[in-house]
Assembly symmetry: C2
Homo-oligomer: 436 residues x 2
C-alpha cells in the first residue's frame, strides 16, 4: 500500500486514527486541515495543500489604510447604520455598474457580515415571503456551507448537478425543478465553486427567463467576482463585463464578497445588491409576520438588525475605499488575484501529465478558465478513494461528494500551493501514478 509514497504514511495513519476519522476521503474540510496540520507539526516535510478555499494573499493597502483612518476618526464607538455606510452603498452600486454593466440602486446595496450573512439573510427572507414556496433550488455543484445554512434555517433544498445540463438542456431541467411552484429562490455561484465552470450569457438568459416565468428570486453568488481570467474583466465601465443574470431579469439578488477578489476575508464584509423589483415587492406573509410588507424593509429592518445590527463600521469604510479605487480605475484588483489562475494552469498540467483528467472540463465548447479551483479525477477511482489515496502522497484536497456533484473527483484549490512546490508536487503525483 502506498509503496512509492514520499511521506511518512505511518505517522499520517496514526494522526487520522487518533482523530477518530473513519474515512479520510470523506472528511470535512476542517477535518482534513486538522490532519495535515497534525502531520506537519510531527514531521519535517510539508503537504501540497489544496483543501482550503481561502485566500492566501495580503490584504490591499487601500483597504487597510481606509480602515485605520476610520478607526482614528472614532467610528468604533458608533453603531453602523443598518442599511450601511452611504459611501459603501454608493460605490457598491457604481461597482455593479462598472464591472457588471448593471444599474443598481445605491439604497438597495446592503453591507453584510461577509457574503455568508448575505446569503443567510436572503434565504431567510425569501423563505418567509411566501409560505408555499419553501424550497431553495441549488444549481450544483456548490458551496456546501450554503446547504448547512438551510439546515440551520429549516428551509428545504432541491438540487441537481449541472454537469449534464449545460446550454439548452438547462431550460428543460429548470422547468422540471420549478414546475411544482414550491421554489422561492435559485442559487448558484459564478465562477463556480468547486468546478470553476462559468455560465455563459445564453445560460444566464435561460435562468433569468425561468426565474421570471416561475416568479423566483435568483441569488447569484459572486464570491469569485471577475476571476474568469479568460477575459480581462478588470477595466471599469468597459466590456467585457463579469457575466451576470442581473442583465436579464429584475428578480435578482447579487452576493458580492470581499474575501477572494479583495483578499479581505478576515473582516467579514460583503455587500448584497437587491434589485428594485425584489426589494420593493410587497408580500402579505411579511406584512403579517412583521407589520412590514416589503422584502427590503424586512431584510434590513428586521433580518439584518436581528442577526447582528449591521456590519463592522470600519470594515465598511475599507470596502468602500477599495470599491471606489476599483471603480476609478486606480486599483486593478484582479491583477492581484490573477496569480491563482497562473498556478492553476501549471497545476492542471502536472495532474494531466500523470494520468489525471479534468472532471468539469468545458464551458460548452470553451476550455474552462484557470482560476481559484479546478476538479480532477483519476481513472475509475471514486472521489472519496482519490482524496483518501492522494493524502498518503502528501497532497490534500476534498472529494466532490460534499458539493452536490455526482461526478467522481476532487476539488483542487490554488490558494496555498506556491511555485517552489511545483517540483515536489510533480514527484508526488508521479509516485501516486506509479502505485495506482
Amino acid at each position: 500500500m502506498f509503496e512509492n509514497s514520499p511521506i511518512n504514511t505511518v505517522s499520517l495513519a496514526k494522526i487520522i486514527q487518533d482523530l477518530n476519522i473513519k474515512n479520510i476521503g470523506n472528511a470535512t474540510i476542517r477535518e482534513v486541515v486538522t490532519v495535515v496540520n497534525g502531520y506537519e507539526a510531527a514531521n519535517d516535510d510539508k503537504f501540497i495543500r489544496m483543501e482550503m478555499g481561502v485566500p492566501s494573499l495580503d490584504p490591499p493597502s487601500i483597504g487597510i489604510e481606509a480602515e485605520k483612518a476610520a478607526l482614528d476618526a472614532g467610528v468604533a464607538s458608533k453603531y453602523p447604520m443598518l442599511d450601511g455606510l452611504p459611501a459603501l452603498k454608493q460605490e457598491g452600486a457604481r461597482f455593479v455598474d462598472a464591472f457588471l454593466g448593471v444599474k443598481a440602486n445605491p439604497a438597495y446595496v446592503i453591507p453584510t457580515v461577509g457574503s455568508m450573512q448575505g446569503t443567510y439573510a436572503s434565504f431567510l427572507t425569501c423563505l418567509q415571503s411566501d409560505p408555499k414556496k419553501d424550497n431553495i433550488l441549488f444549481i450544483d455543484p456548490g458551496f456546501p456551507v450554503q446547504k448547512q445554512q438551510l439546515d440551520v434555517l429549516g428551509g428545504k433544498v432541491k438540487t441537481f448537478d449541472v454537469y449534464d445540463y449545460r446550454g439548452e438542456n438547462l431550460a428543460d431541467k429548470l422547468d422540471e425543478m420549478l414546475a411544482d411552484g414550491d421554489v422561492c429562490c435559485i442559487v448558484y455561484s459564478n465562477p463556480n465553486n468547486p468546478s470553476w465552470i462559468c455560465f455563459n450569457d445564453d445560460e444566464l438568459k435561460i435562468i433569468a427567463a425561468k426565474a421570471d416565468q416561475y416568479d423566483v428570486v435568483v441569488l447569484e453568488d459572486l464570491a469569485y467576482f471577475g476571476m474568469d481570467f479568460r477575459k480581462d474583466l478588470g477595466t471599469p465601465f468597459e466590456a467585457p463585463y463579469q457575466a451576470s443574470v442581473a442583465k436579464y431579469t429584475d428578480n435578482y439578488i447579487l452576493s458580492i464578497s470581499s474575501s477572494k477578489a479583495f483578499s479581505y476575508a478576515g473582516q467579514r464584509i460583503g455587500i448584497t445588491v437587491i434589485s428594485d423589483k425584489v426589494f420593493e415587492r410587497q408580500h402579505p406573509a411579511l406584512q403579517e409576520r412583521y407589520g412590514i410588507p416589503s422584502f427590503g424593509g424586512v431584510f434590513v429592518g428586521r433580518v439584518i438588525y436581528a442577526l447582528s445590527s449591521g456590519a463592522s463600521h470600519s470594515a465598511q469604510y475599507a470596502l468602500a475605499a477599495m470599491l471606489k479605487a476599483a471603480n476609478d480605475g486606480q486599483f486593478k484588483f484582479l491583477n492581484d488575484v490573477k496569480i491563482y489562475g497562473d498556478r492553476a494552469k501549471v497545476m492542471k498540467e502536472l495532474f494531466i501529465n500523470n494520468g489525471f483528467h479534468l472532471v468539469y472540463e468545458k464551458d460548452l465548447d470553451q476550455e474552462l478558465a484557470d482560476g481559484f479551483y479546478f476538479t480532477v479525477g483519476y481513472k475509475a477511482m471514486s472521489g472519496i478513494e482519490l482524496a483518501a489515496n492522494l493524502i498518503h502522497y502528501g497532497i490534500s484536497a476534498i472529494s466532490l461528494d460534499s458539493t452536490g456533484s455526482e461526478q467522481q473527483g476532487i476539488r483542487a484549490c490554488m490558494a496555498f500551493v506556491t511555485e517552489e512546490q511545483f517540483p515536489v508536487m510533480a514527484e508526488r503525483l508521479a509516485a501516486f501514478a506509479k502505485d495506482f
Copy 2:
C-alpha cells in the same frame, strides 16, 4: 395645546405628519430619531435627546491601537477561527473570573458579531435543542429587539413584567411560567434595559434554582456590564463583583457586549460565554438535525458558521486587548462610562422637581442605581401620552410599552444629554409641568 412649549410645534407637527406617523407616542426608536433629526435640520434649536440607547463616548485607545496593529499585521485577509482568537477566548474567561468571580472555560468563550448575534445564536440553538421546549421566557421589561429576533427565528415568547414580582415573589411567578415544561431559555438583562433595576443575589439564586428545577438555560444579557454604580465593580479579582446567575447555576449563557461598557458598538464584537454543562450537553434533536450532538458543537460549527463565519478578525484583537488591560487592572473601563450615572443623578432630580415620578423605583429596599437609563411617569398620563406630549417640549424618549413593561412611563437614556443642556432641560420640564 402645548401653550408654553419653547419649540416650534408647528414645524414638529408637520414633520410627524409628513412621515405618516399616526401616534408619535407609540413610534419606534428609529421613527423618533427620524422626527428629531428632521426637526433639528429645519430649526435652530436642539432637542434633549433621550430616545437612543447608544453610547456617546469615544472608543478606548487601547482597542483602537490593537485593532490597527492587527490590520498592519495582515489579519484582514485571513478568515477568523470560528470559535475565536485564542487571546480573546483566554482574556474573556479571565474577565469573567476577574469581574464576575466566575470560572469559565476559555474554549467555551465564543466571539460573536455583537451581543446581537450572540443572543440570536443562543435562542436558535436552545430552541433547536428540544422541540418540546419551543418558548423563550422574557423577564421583562427588556430590549424590544430580542423579541424581534424571535419573530425572525420563529420562536415563541412568554413574558411577564417583573415589577410586581421582585424578591421572594419571583419564585412563584417563575413556577407559573415554567410549569408547562415548554420553555428552553430564560432571558433578562442585568442591569436592566430600560428600567435599570438590578436583580440582587437572592433573586439571581431564585432564577438559578428554577432553571435547574425545570432544566432551562438562563441567558443573562450583560449589555451594561458593571454599570451598577452603587458599588465599585471595577477592580479585577476583588469583590464586589457584577452580580450574575452564573454563580448559582451551571445552566447559563452570558452575553457580554463591548458596545456600552467599552464604547465599541461600531465594530460589532462581543463574547458569548457558555457554561461547561450547556456547551457539552448532548441533545438527540441536534444529533438528528446536524449529525453533531453537543450544544456547543452546533453553536460554533453550524450556527456561527452559517450566520457569518465568525466575527471581524481585527475587532477580536481590539476586544482581547481591552479585556486584557481591564483584567490586568491597567484599564479602568468603568471610570469612562461612569459619566452616564452622573448625568442620571442630575436628570432624575430635574424630572422629580417638575412633578414626575420614577416608575421602576427600587431594588426591593434599595434605591435604584444611577446608570444608562431610568424610567419616569407623570401623574396619571399613559406612557404613550407622555412620550407624545414631551416631544412637543423638545424632549424625546420612548414609551415603556414596547419593552414588555405594563407600567405607564417613558425610558430616558443618558447617552446624548450633556451637562450644558441641563438648564434648557429644566426650563422645558417646567414649561411642560405648567401645561399639564
